[in-house]
Homo-oligomer: 203 residues x 2
């Protein structure tokens, strides 16, 4: 925005928008001009939705998912199975898994994975909180749902060692060829593992 003489208000709004990831100055200007054509009420609703989110958001005391209250809607939902805990890296994975509508247990958000390169060790993650939930009783199975990366696998291994002293099942999400993928183009690691971990054919 070299157009400094026309409107400081416009300039500020464009500058703020272009701080967002993937939003350049041209897109930013387009979005701001779009908002100028909306009603005052609509723009206030938009701006306040963001401010209210940032000021009002809490982290669930049980699972560390984002929440509007002390205990999140998932942990306080009595229809969900509290004996099943799915361990994930961040809230992004909670949202992804919820969208599949295939999981009806509870979550535990670690807040990252073990990554010595980034200076993240086990003590930086919510691992003690996970163990405390299991020690409180009632948990039958923990599903490790971390990304199939070196850091994810390291964290899986660390958690497995910690969890194996409890009388619970420990599982990981299935890895294999993605649905819709051509076998020909699957990488060798994935294809190999999908043969080793083959499952009985179901009609």
């Amino acid at each position: 925005m070299d157009n400094q003489s026309s409107s400081i208000l416009l300039e500020n709004a464009v500058k703020e928008f272009s701080k967002l990831p993937g939003i350049g100055k041209k897109t930013s200007l387009r979005l701001v001009l779009h908002l100028l054509r909306q009603s005052r009420e609509d723009v206030e609703r938009f701006g306040n939705a963001l401010i209210d989110l940032r000021n009002g958001i809490q982290y669930c005391k049980v699972c560390r998912n984002i929440s509007d209250s002390e205990i999140c809607g998932i942990c306080s939902d009595e229809r969900r199975d509290p004996s099943l805990i799915c361990v994930v890296e961040s809230i992004n994975e909670v949202i992804s898994i919820e969208n599949t509508q295939q999981f009806h247990g509870l979550y535990h958000v670690l807040g990252g994975v073990i990554s010595p390169m980034d200076g993240v060790g086990p003590s930086d993650l919510a691992i003690d909180e996970l163990l405390a939930r299991i020690e409180a009783g009632g948990v039958k199975e923990v599903i490790l749902a971390l990304s199939p990366t070196m850091e994810g696998d390291t964290t899986n291994f660390y958690l497995y060692k910690k969890l194996s002293k409890y009388e619970i099942d420990i599982s990981t999400i299935a890895r294999g060829v993605s649905i819709g993928d051509e076998l020909e183009y699957a990488d060798e690691m994935t294809l190999g593992r999908s043969i080793v971990n083959r499952t009985p054919y179901k009609m």
Copy 2:
């Protein structure tokens, strides 16, 4: 977002973001999660920049450009030449032309172009206001800078007829082959006009 149980605040913010043009639900969620990682002050500055823009913006009484005050920064800039008025369709073109840093006169924002298909006639545009500015005296040249579309050309013609009774020069922006374009791929209309309107060669 099927994840209705976790956070209404998150859901609202995502819904509001995805109302913006070109922002889908996935991008919207990504932007909202980005904002969650920013400080409260930063998010408040963002939200308030948008609200303040919408509530504070005015339209310049002279040229109808957006402005923070009754008369915009361009019209009130004494270094600019008030004898030269560039007629444009909307504030977008003001911003584009300002960014070229090649124009030092004033603007007149019509607020659209004549388009019978869309029900926009001459009376819907700020044409009387333009004529009033010329009748007030001091204007030597009006540049018609509308898009080279059928509607733009119709509006150019209408304005030309209205303006030709005054003792002023009337010009339109040059049309021709874009700088950097291969002649081979230029469309025939543009190439033809660029030959008819050839200009003396300058070293």
